[in-house]
């Protein structure tokens, strides 16, 4: 594993949710963490804050000493953060083919082919998103995020629509991909197996509080 001791992710912010205010405090040097907890606790919202698309958060987000978010909202805009965000609600651009979705962030054609092979979606490249199954869509969205050359990968229930054998295999593929490139990962999942395979540190979110397990 190509480790770089300078990596550090710090969260210390508040955000109003539907029922209460969530207070998130996290400080880690681990390159693979999982956030687990009951559904509706706000796990996906934490990823949105990290991606820079959530404007209601107030407080700090620091990534490797760089301040991404301050008391007045996002400081570094999402298009400069270089995060590979795969939201739980998998959205592919419906007007683009799978190939163009994968190539959205501008990778080389060869990189697109290679990632497609890695995720076993080569035969889908010319299709429209409308004609894909849920599992296929998840893999395309994942590939699109990997092809953006992210400095941080944010995965929100990334394998939920896949069946068991493929699920385990893809978790392994993503784990290796991150390890080879030294890309840190924040995983949101309620699946113990995923968290087991991918994460070295687990944080539990419930009642608006984030606690390390």
């Amino acid at each position: 594993m190509a480790t770089d001791s300078s990596y550090r992710l710090g969260l210390d912010f508040e955000i109003p949710l539907a029922s209460k205010t969530m207070r998130v405090k996290l400080d880690t040097e681990s390159r693979a963490i999982a956030i687990v907890g009951p559904s509706g606790a706000g796990k996906s919202t934490i990823l949105r804050v990290l991606a820079g698309v959530e404007r209601r958060a107030r407080g700090l987000v620091t990534f490797c000493g760089q301040r991404w978010q301050g008391d007045d909202g996002p400081i570094v805009p999402p298009w400069l953060r270089r995060v590979g965000w795969v939201p739980q609600e998998v959205l592919l651009f419906p007007h683009l083919t799978v190939r163009d979705n994968l190539g959205y962030a501008g990778p080389s054609a060869a990189a697109v082919e290679e990632t497609a092979r890695l995720l076993q979606i080569t035969e889908l490249l010319e299709r429209r998103p409308r004609r894909l199954s849920g599992g296929e869509r998840q893999r395309v969205a994942l590939g699109r995020a990997l092809l953006a050359k992210p400095k941080l990968l944010l995965l929100d229930e990334p394998f939920s629509a896949l069946d068991r054998p493929l699920r385990a295999e893809l978790a392994r593929v993503v784990g290796e991909w991150c390890a080879e490139r030294g890309v840190p990962l924040v995983l949101v999942s309620h699946d113990e197996a995923d968290a087991e395979v991918l994460a070295e540190q687990r944080w539990h979110l419930s009642d608006g509080k984030l606690v390390r397990e």
């Binding site: 991606a51 999402p78 995060v83």
Partner: protein, 508 residues
């Protein structure tokens, strides 16, 4: 229950206004109900607009002498004649020329040989009150525009005859702008939109914004005679006859003369010729013009509609409600009001209007004016549709695009715009259809000028004034209905495609 209470309240109000001793009636449709509902109580009289001052005075005097109450509907003779034929419920007709009276006689709307000339008028040239004078018809040639009443309105036809007789018609024909009635032409001159106009003397002296430059010789045009006749459908023939007799009585003639009209001897009127120049507007030019105006308005509206639609769909800012209200206003305002406001901003006398004119882009009476009117009136539907299209796009597509390295502008062109494209096209179709149907704002801002602002809607309106226009109307009506329905079909198809475009979870 509520309706009943309202009606009672209304009745009380009317009672308060009614003259002592007169029966109180409630007319929810004042132009049609009277004669049938209350025979021998009050009269409904259709009369040329230029009689709007004198006839109520005559009616007052008649009533004081024991006559019934008289109510009036004033409009251009041509439109009233068509109305009299369509819904025969009035008692008497006052026409501003003989030809329309003949037309009504031929259709037995009035009894033959019964019309009486009751007054005469003169044709005068008017200029704005503060303008420099002119004294001869030849001087009309130096004006860029001349306001006349519509070509099938008597005043418009007399004016043309006078210009032909004085030899200037050929020179000025393409500078003529037509108001619907004499009042319309007069209003343009009074506002300074048109530097000179030809109207009746009685109208000119009643308008403080203009002054009379000179009067056309009576020999230069057919005599301007007002004709009165009872309508066959009248339910109160005796009362009607009594009023018409009063109008030409000694007392009546005094009132007529006091209002600025000339008097005519009843014996002199039978053998007078009439002008018969009813022109059919060119059908092809109207259709071509309509398509062009609607297309211009649609193209001009594209960027504003996309900009405003996106802004209203995606941004929160101070004054958003105000902006939205302003954009939507033309949807609910009477188009005539919209046209009037536009004229107040873009008219020839305004700073913006004169700036545009000096750039070679005058707005009033030009195709530019027609396109601007259509643009403004069509914009609300455009913006509503485009806004809806943007709102239907899940904001998460845009968020995703940003995290994938595309700043807002690139995200707009690569994601928001393509996803909303069918909806934007649907908005364009709707705006096109609305622009095609535009009438009120156009007629006020751009007038009714053959070949440059007379679109299908205005041509139909013009033909309604003409006895011989019936067959032509159907061609234009067919074209109008056909094109509008096609545009709406396009709107439907594109709206459906918009929905389809955003359906990306077919296999979910």
């Amino acid at each position: 229950m509520t309706g009943w209470v309202l009606a009672c309240g209304l009745a009380l109000l009317l009672r308060a206004d009614a003259a002592a001793g007169e029966p109180v009636r409630i007319d929810f449709e004042p132009t049609v109900s009277s004669a049938k509902a209350a025979p021998d109580s009050s009269l409904l009289v259709l009369a040329a607009s230029s009689l709007a001052e004198v006839l109520p005075r005559l009616a007052d005097a008649w009533r004081r002498g024991g006559g019934a109450e008289v109510r009036f509907s004033f409009d251009a003779t041509s439109r009233l004649a068509v109305q009299a034929l369509r819904s025969p419920s009035a008692d008497a007709f006052f026409a501003a020329d003989r030809e329309w009276m003949d037309w009504l006689e031929q259709r037995a709307v009035v009894r033959e040989g019964i019309a009486v000339a009751m007054a005469a008028n003169e044709l005068v040239v008017v200029v704005p009150a503060d303008a420099s004078p002119l004294a001869t018809p030849a001087e009309l040639e130096r004006f860029p525009r001349i306001a006349l009443a519509g070509e099938n309105v008597p005043a418009g036809r007399y004016a043309r005859a006078a210009l032909e007789a004085t030899g200037v018609w050929a020179e000025v024909a393409d500078r003529v702008v037509r108001g619907g009635s004499v009042r319309g032409a007069l209003e343009w001159v009074a506002r300074g939109e048109v530097p000179v106009g030809i109207v009746y003397r009685t109208d000119a002296v009643a308008e403080p914004g203009v002054r009379v430059a000179f009067t056309f010789e009576a020999t230069n045009h057919p005599p301007v005679l007002y004709w009165s006749a009872p309508l066959s459908a009248s339910r109160a023939p005796e009362s009607t006859d009594s009023f018409l007799r009063f109008v030409v009585s000694e007392q009546g003639r005094d009132i007529v003369a006091a209002s600025g009209f000339a008097l005519v001897e009843p014996s002199a009127v039978q053998a007078l010729p009439s002008v018969a120049v009813v022109q059919a507007p060119a059908v092809a030019s109207a259709i071509r013009l309509s398509l062009m105006v609607a297309l211009l308005a649609t193209i001009a509206g594209l960027v504003p509609a996309v900009g405003l639609g996106w802004l209203l769909a995606r941004r929160e800012f101070r004054g958003k409600a105000l902006l939205s209200t302003l954009v939507m206003a033309p949807l609910v305002m009477p188009p005539v009001v919209t046209g009037f406001l536009l004229l107040s901003v873009l008219g020839g006398g305004t700073p913006l209007g004169s700036r545009l004119a000096s750039l070679g882009l005058p707005v009033p009476f030009t195709i530019l004016g027609a396109a601007i009117a259509a643009f403004v009136v069509g914009l609300p539907l455009y913006v509503i549709t485009v806004r809806g299209a943007f709102e239907a796009v899940d904001p998460m597509y845009e968020e995703l695009s940003r995290t994938l390295g595309a700043p807002p502008r690139r995200t707009f062109f690569r994601v928001s715009l393509p996803l909303a494209l069918p909806g934007i096209a649907a908005g364009a179709m709707l705006a096109f259809a609305r622009a095609l149907g535009e009438f009120g704002a156009t007629v006020v801002l751009a007038g009714n000028v053959e070949g440059s602002t007379r679109t299908i809607a205005l041509a139909v309106y013009t033909l309604l004034e003409s006895p011989s226009g019936r067959s032509t109307i159907w061609v234009l009506v067919g074209a109008s209905v056909g094109i509008s329905l096609l545009a709406l079909l396009g709107f439907e198809a594109l709206s459906r495609r918009q929905k389809l475009r955003l359906e990306d979870r077919h296999g979910h």
